[in-house]
Amino acid sequence: MSKGVKAVMAGALALSLAACGTNNNSATGGNDNKGAANGSKATNQEKITITFQNIYPDPTDPKHGAVKKIVEQYEAEHSNIKIELDSLNTDQQKLKLKTQAASKEVPDITVVNPSAQMKPFVEAGLFAPLNDMVEQNGLKATFQEGILDWYSFDNNLYALPDGNNIGVVYYNKELFEQGGVKVPATFEEMIEVVKTLKSKGITPIAIGEKDTWTGSFLFMNVLLRTNGGPGFLQDVQDGKKTFEDQAFVDAVDSFQDLVQAGAFQEGATSFDYNAGENLFKTGKSAMYYMGSWATGGIETSSVNGKVGVFKFPTVKGKGNPNEFMLAPGSGFAISANSKHLQETKDFLNYFMLNFPKVMFEAKGAIGIAQKVEGDFKAQGYSEMAMEILDLFKEVQGGDLSFDNTMNPGTSQAHLTSIQDLFGQKRDSKEIGKDHQTAYTSNKE
């Protein structure tokens, strides 16, 4: 494979140089074959550095290993190219990218969240369209059906995702047995389960609500049910619904029922994501609602083997459990102003082509955005991981998280508002009204 790729790369590289000459910097370079001859010489001369900003600094993260491995492989094959990894933690990367974006200084490759969160960057013309690049070497076909839509605007694709996850409820079978409870089939049963567990001194659900999105993610799943299906936020944006509609108020009510039943650990709003998840991973809580990306971490924790998963149940008889909270992962985007646009595209193409295989081997292939070939069982993936894989097959659509759908201003208001519910009971209609006010005042 590598030989073929190499040949294609050399060609593509040459093309880029030719393209530069004709002052044509992106979209059409791919099919043009003229410059191949004179371009190949340059391969040995110019040393090119591509800056790859990413959010995988932690060596225990399988993605860190994958990035490193593929980059090393690529550098070995392309002696003139150096990939400079700027690995930052997520919050800092977001801040850095926004600061860089303001001065049009976006790194060659960076990481953005899908849909609404990347929209401002796209609108400012900071990212290069990847339409041509994703067609090369059959890269597009490696992605799951429909996933790239979350990264496309006006028929142009601007980023390639590293993940595609769904929201599930992890539960600790041992603690369920201790509490004498069964997997709930409805939200009402879930509240009963919570009460029973609570009465036996078991923390029912762990959550890291200091990072406000966690509660919102769960809340949105309730809304997905009370709305009888996906698209509530879209309808609000289209002016067909408002936050004061019954579906939203019902969702707030049900969510508050869950909180008031004592579902979450004490002091949940001071637990960050990791501290919250750790309660579940150390067997201190019976359930944990999270994106399926949490699987890897749970597998390496002390509760491994005792954990099962179930779909978020129906609420008040409404909704379809096969509709999930969808979490298309962060995507790799390329700067429109990159000095080495074509080389960067070539590298990212290579990177994404190799990504699934490397992740599969690192046992991190649960919830990646590309199709993975291989026998998960034989590779040693856990039973829980297999369960998750089965759930993926049953997905019949769903919603994106609030902050991936709404503009940042409204999202922040929403996140705070949901966090507030962990501390005190509020009038649900009031919450709806607050949301509507925030929405109208942040609308362009």
């Binding site: 860089q100 303001a102 990306w293």
Partner: protein
């Protein structure tokens, strides 16, 4: 450290009324107060040491006193290898040292002019500095980014050293000029009579007596920039230029944090500082006593 015993507090200060019961109780109370403070202020260091030997689950279970079941020495090997400890430490030392020297030199020059020169705009310049004293760094990230892009120093050590110096100068000028103002004017009057120039007065008279406030400035500068991360992470991208706080955060991933390694890294990061500080503590205070001129 034994020579430290020699440096007792100035002789006039200790209370001499021995024998009185009241004084003894008083002394016991003082002893208790100082000891309690010693424990509360130093416990974090011990806690950090224990912390650095725990695994994630032990750390996040949040107990205050517990010891690790088995010490996780690999936290330290992780910290050194994955955290790029030595490289980051070297960078931090370089950046901090250059910044300190820069702050000291520039602010001492400016303070001297403000507090000793006879010129019309001294007061105005001082006010200008005062304005900037309390400005938060975050508010300037974006404009600085644009400036640095235009003078093409992004992703170099200069892109953090310059703002570090710039942000520290107001407080440094504030402290140094306040001190220099209190130096009696007869000093330079006699120097002028001796035919000394301005630069010599600055170098041989003012600077030597200004050691104590300069120490204070050093300490302030140090604590403000040693752990500084927001600016560094925004302006530095290359692995080879990163400073210690990057190492700390290199164990923070999107969905996981390796707390033990962070602890180990912080131990390693704090260690040289603590050692240097305790070694110099003696000199710092001595210098301060020697520089006592006020009165």
């Amino acid at each position: 450290m034994s020579q430290m015993i020699g440096v007792a507090a100035p002789s006039a200060k200790p209370i001499v009324r021995t024998g009185a019961l009241r004084s003894r109780i008083f002394k016991a109370a003082v002893f208790v107060i100082l000891s309690v403070l010693f424990v509360t202020q130093l416990y974090p260091l011990l806690w950090l040491l224990i912390y650095s030997l725990k695994n994630n689950e032990e750390i996040l279970s949040g107990s205050f006193f517990s010891l690790p079941a088995s010490p996780q020495w690999n936290n330290f090997t992780d910290a050194i290898a994955s955290g790029n400890y030595f490289k980051y430490l070297a960078n931090s030392l370089l950046v901090t040292t250059v910044t300190m020297l820069g702050v000291l030199l520039l602010s001492a020059l400016a303070s001297f002019a403000i507090s000793r020169f006879k010129w019309r705009y001294g007061g105005a310049v001082m006010v200008l500095f005062l304005v900037g004293m309390m400005i938060p760094m975050q508010a300037t990230l974006l404009p600085l980014m644009i400036i640095f892009k235009n003078i093409d120093i992004l992703n170099t050590h200069l892109s953090i050293i310059l703002p570090y110096i710039a942000f520290q100068t107001p407080i440094a000028v504030f402290i140094l000029s306040g001190f220099m103002r209190s130096i009696p004017h007869e000093i330079e009057e006699s120097a002028i009579v001796d035919g000394a120039g301005v630069f010599r007065i600055f170098r041989s008279i003012i600077l030597p007596v200004s050691v104590p406030p300069m120490m204070t400035v050093c300490i302030l500068t140090f604590i403000n920039i040693w752990n500084e991360y927001i600016m560094a992470s925004t302006f530095i991208s290359s692995e080879g230029l990163k400073t210690l706080p990057f190492g700390v955060y290199s164990f923070v991933s999107q969905y996981s944090v390796n707390y033990g390694a962070i602890g180990a890294f912080l131990v390693l990061g704090a260690l040289p500082v603590v050692i240097i500080y305790f070694l110099l503590a003696d000199k710092i205070t001595k210098g301060m006593v020697a520089g006592a001129v006020k009165g």
